[in-house]
Symmetry: C2
Subunit: 194 residues, 2 copies
DNA sequence: CCATGATTTAACAAAATTGTTAAACAAAAG
DNA sequence: CTTTTGTTTAACAATTTTGTTAAATCATGG
């Protein structure tokens, strides 16, 4: 039953990802996750020895997915602006699925969850060079290249993270916030490019 | 002893804010907080009936501080650009003290922590009008005014939130990240203004 | 100094959570 | 059909956490 094996194991991981990264319940119990997965709590210990090891599996999968996704766009052979546009799309789509992903991973890293792969990603180093070239062309603001990517991530991700806070601050209801979100991509592109 | 009274009560709140918003340990126990405050756990129940009520007090204080700070700058009679510059300074300073503030408040709001004051802030509505005027002048990108403030918050706050994630992604050590942070203000101003 | 409120100590009950074990049951593979 | 593997059930121990209580001690204002 190697097939079903992996299937259930992955189902538990996926459910945990949903609980952590979609619902933002980073300190959900093993029982919570078992319930959400429609599975007995004992089964979680059967596949993952402990809560910590389930965490490890979840974070490793999330990390790999994020990197693969970023790489597939940023590493592609595309005109720079087109590439950024696509990447914004990818990020926005992922945020709909996992609004709490970055926030959770950061919190966890801060509280001792280590990254398995401590090596910086190579594709990112390559992309940084591409950014530098673009700065020389004058299409984007001249600065240390990481700033461009920081700006990109910030502008896309942050408004999703603090949605409830923003709704209160600006006095926006659900629909009004939806409307703003729809405008975001254009605003972001205009902000990033000269 | 009304004086000492409030003193200790505030000390506990301040300590909790430190634990939550500086260290990012949002699910610290009452014992953790008592220890950090150098105080007996029973005393926490003496001042705050329950963990939840301590939470309420902490979040209410954080919220009021944030609003007061924002208001004092954004509500001041200053040229627009100068105002934004000052606000970036204020935000950056606050982030050094409480890097996990926004992230924590958002997570908590999502998990049921309600805002006492559900009324949107008036000063923000006024400031939004100021932003609209500035857009008409052409000094900043033309869009729905909230976008400008979203951009501002995003660009300043997000890189702090995901510092560990960014360090890994870009392969930056502590000093290198410090250097980037120092450059942030200029980059942000250049990004926000045409 | 003494009365009052602040703070600690100790001890405890109740609940929640994690982790373990053994037995039973289900389903699919050989 | 029988063995193996996946899954559930039940019961339990250990730990952590919250919340409560009563008594003792400390500090200070009147």
């Amino acid at each position: 039953m190697a097939a079903k094996d992996k299937k259930t194991e992955q189902h538990i991981i996926d459910t945990a990802m949903h609980v952590f990264f979609t619902e933002g319940r980073l300190h959900a119990t093993t029982q919570d996750i078992a319930d959400a997965a429609g599975v007995n709590r004992t089964l979680i210990h059967y596949y993952f020895k402990s809560r910590d090891q389930l965490f490890d599996a979840v974070f490793e999968k999330a990390r790999l997915e994020s990197i693969r996704e970023a790489q597939s766009v940023l590493g592609a052979a595309l005109p720079f602006r087109k590439k950024i546009e696509q990447f914004v799309d990818v990020l926005l789509k992922r945020l709909e699925t996992y609004p709490y992903l970055e926030i959770s991973m950061t919190t966890s890293m801060h509280n001792g969850q280590p990254f398995r792969d401590e090596v910086p990603e190579i594709f990112m180093q390559q992309f940084l060079q591409e950014v530098a070239q673009e700065m020389n062309k004058g299409t984007i603001q001249r600065a240390t290249p990481v700033h461009f990517i920081m700006n990109l991530f910030s502008l896309v991700i942050y408004p999703f993270i603090v949605k409830p806070l923003n709704q209160h601050l600006f006095g926006l209801n659900e629909q009004e916030y939806e409307k703003i979100v729809k405008e975001r991509k254009t605003v972001i592109m205009n902000t990033l490019f000269n």
